[in-house]
Symmetry: C2
Subunit: 460 residues, 2 copies
């Protein structure tokens, strides 16, 4: 098992850093490691939840300090929010919660999902809080579901290539079979039933029992955004072949313009398709990777065959082995689902911070994509989504791989990327993934160095 | 897979609570759910780490409010502690850390372990920060190690019976073989080589390839504390049979009088015994279950046979699939390893809180143990350790199991315990586990009810 985003390039970068070299860690979508500021509202709340004695102290402070400016104090809205949260949380931040997470947080997630998907009373299918599991980041949930699906070495899971290594690593660990499918790079990583059927046929010829299809949208590592057509082709394909869908939608707030269309919404008319969708507090405009907040939602839980067991109960037992996910991650999930109300004190600042982070991300992506135009043979397809660009390198010197390229780029410029081989790629192609996170002043310095490096390297 | 501490009794309690019944959740070691207060120093630090803007605000406040009492403000020691932490943490609380956790926290743990074990320059073996992995609670670490050890259905792991269900559940999930050994209840759950050899022989007769022995000390569910003799017998047994030791030492601060003796210390003279020891921030006097802080330390990493791979590197790859454990849990691990310095501002309060929690736990355990004397046939062996009592019920009505007993006790008194069958027990015996956590005023009310219930139930 190799885990590319924490593989040899990561270790080399750590080694160079120790020697004093400036490292720009673009090997992973970790925005706060590159200076992205946390959302103020979120952190004010978390801070007070950890030390509730200060909620009332803030109220006393305001009286004592009537002549200080507003920014010195925490707004009443935040204080009331914390009081309300702690009443609902009952046992505070230091106690184990229910294995799935506290009911009130799962209810908030359900309302949030319904709002996102514009579920009306007369159209759409509502989310069910009982089918939501709060997890330590999205990865934990993905591992639980793959573990549930894979019983033996013939059980196959369809995964896109390139893919996020969590999937390949976990399928291998569980002893299942990877079934690769290849989104069409040149058309912006589009998908259709032909592509999917071709992959399924090949698997069936090998006697693989294909159980599920993984879709990452917006995608990691390519940053591609699936159009509604691609999504509906996947849904029809899943129905025709009785496949479970695993929708990794952790980048659902990273579309930069177009509107996110969820798999939950796409399967409204298909009560026979089982869906597991995953979300996290690590990405979007929040970027709270270190806090490991995540959840997954189950729609149309599949039947467990000849038993009278219920899928949700089995999942409950499975997650109970860890007792519960961390309460701070849980709180962030609640915060994500409960943004400040329009007109409330923190609202304007919250909206400004959100807008600023997303605009900044898009603008940095565009700057990097523009720089590719000055690198010979660097082709980057598709819209900008997620936190990544995944350009193809059509020219590499004889005998050199994309790994060699990324290693040399790191050694020369400090820029840490990940080679396409780390995610899988169509045979004969070479890529790299870069997380578009460095501040603009750093980009301004490093991109010319990269362009220079590139055009020298390919002629080496 | 059944997970007793979150099994039918837990679900019944939740149902009764919904109906308005007062529930006393003693089914799990979750002290803050029963009113135990968090350690002030820990929470003041966590609060400021989440919102570092307030570190400087606290300094300004002190100047502005020169006439308020000290308790209104946070001490300079805490503020400096936070500043120092955030300098070392570099990327704050919102970024993924290294997969093992930040080096400075692992170094602090190593110093803490050496201090605990009284490693001197001329005696003892020092802990190595490179061999420490910070995890989301101890459970995650245990699962990782069992996964590494179990390759096929013949691979066996020795576990004590009764045992914490994490072990049985995980061995089953990984498809390995449970090899049970039975500490001697009547002697206070003592262990010796005869007991261990008997268990090993039986396993070998079934062609099980026994790879490791799990020891929980102080024990869960029995609360028993292993004496040095028992510990050395285990160590010798492990050496003679080339077994890895998994030492679950999460209750190392719950001994209430006697001194903790670690397996790390017990194997100082055995460089050929591989040891994994687990610790957590959920127990002790800290009781921060919800924050999911944990770590494991590897001593004498075993050889991976015919490969040139290194065990620590393999573990790094394995934990990298989750990227990192949550940063708040990590911070608590650091806090656990870095208590306030003697003479510092928070020192006295910290020591008082620590003392008070531990004295309170011991006193509550003693009160419950005393109540057993008024319950006919309720026999509780061994010293008081961990957070549990595990009495044997030598009298039960014809046809009734310990599960029936616990269910009736719950329905009648609201007291939620777990039946001995949930942990495994010697055939023909019946037990229950109770976490000795309820406040004394609740105990004062519920214990007479329990005594009354018991003496009626056994005559039913």
């Amino acid at each position: 098992m190799e885990y590319a985003v924490r593989g040899p390039l990561y270790h080399k970068a750590a080694e160079l850093k120790k020697q004093g070299k400036t490292i720009i860690p673009c090997n992973i979508g970790n925005p706060q490691s590159l200076g992205q500021k946390p959302i103020t509202f979120y952190r004010q709340v978390l801070s007070l939840l950890e030390y509730p004695q200060h909620i009332n102290r803030e109220r006393i402070l305001k009286k004592k300090l009537s002549n200080v400016n507003d920014e010195f104090c925490i707004s009443d809205y935040v204080l009331d929010f914390c009081d309300d949260f702690l009443v609902k949380m009952e046992t505070g931040m230091g106690a184990y919660t229910d294995s799935k997470g506290p009911p009130f947080i799962r209810e908030a997630i359900s309302r949030y999902i319904d709002k996102r998907d514009k579920v009306m009373s007369n159209t759409g299918v509502s989310s069910n809080p009982d089918n939501i599991f709060i997890t330590d980041g999205a990865s934990e949930g993905v591992k639980n579901i793959l573990e549930l699906l894979i019983c033996n070495e013939n059980d196959g899971i369809m995964i896109p290539i390139p893919t996020y290594p969590l999937y390949t690593a976990t399928i291998n660990r569980m002893g299942g079979a990877q079934v690769h499918y290849y989104p069409d790079e040149e058309s912006g990583w589009k998908l259709n039933k032909d592509i999917l059927n071709k992959s399924l046929r090949t698997a069936k010829q090998k006697n693989i029992n294909v159980k599920a299809i993984v879709v990452i949208n917006p995608a990691n590592p390519t940053g591609a955004i699936l159009g509604r057509n691609s999504i509906f082709e996947i849904v029809e394909f899943a129905e025709e072949n009785n496949l479970v869908i695993l929708a990794d939608e952790v980048y659902q707030d990273n579309l930069y313009g177009s509107e996110f269309f969820s798999f939950a919404q796409a399967i409204w008319d298909y009560s026979n398709i089982s869906l597991f969708s995953f979300h996290s507090t690590s990405k979007g405009f929040y970027g709270e990777c270190g806090h490991r907040g995540g959840y997954f939602e189950v729609r149309n839980p599949f039947d467990l065959g000849n038993t009278n067991r219920n899928l949700i109960d089995i999942l409950f037992k499975q997650v109970s082995v860890n007792l519960c996910s961390n309460t701070v991650g849980q709180s962030l999930i609640y915060l994500l689902s409960s943004p400040p109300k329009e007109g409330s004190d923190p609202y304007e600042q919250f909206m400004n911070e959100k807008k600023s982070v997303l605009e900044d991300l898009f603008s940095k992506a565009s700057i990097i994509k523009d720089a590719f135009k000055q690198m010979e043979g660097m082709e980057c397809y598709g819209e900008i989504g997620a936190m990544y660009l995944f350009p193809q390198m059509t020219i590499l010197p004889e005998g050199k791989t994309d790994f060699d390229y990324c290693m040399s780029l790191l050694e020369e410029t400090g820029l840490t990327t990940v080679n396409g081989t780390g995610f899988g790629q169509k045979e004969g192609t070479s890529h790299l993934r870069i997380a578009f996170l460095p501040p603009k002043d750093i980009l301004k310095k490093v991109l010319p160095e990269w362009i220079d490096f590139h055009n020298r390297y390919i002629r080496m």
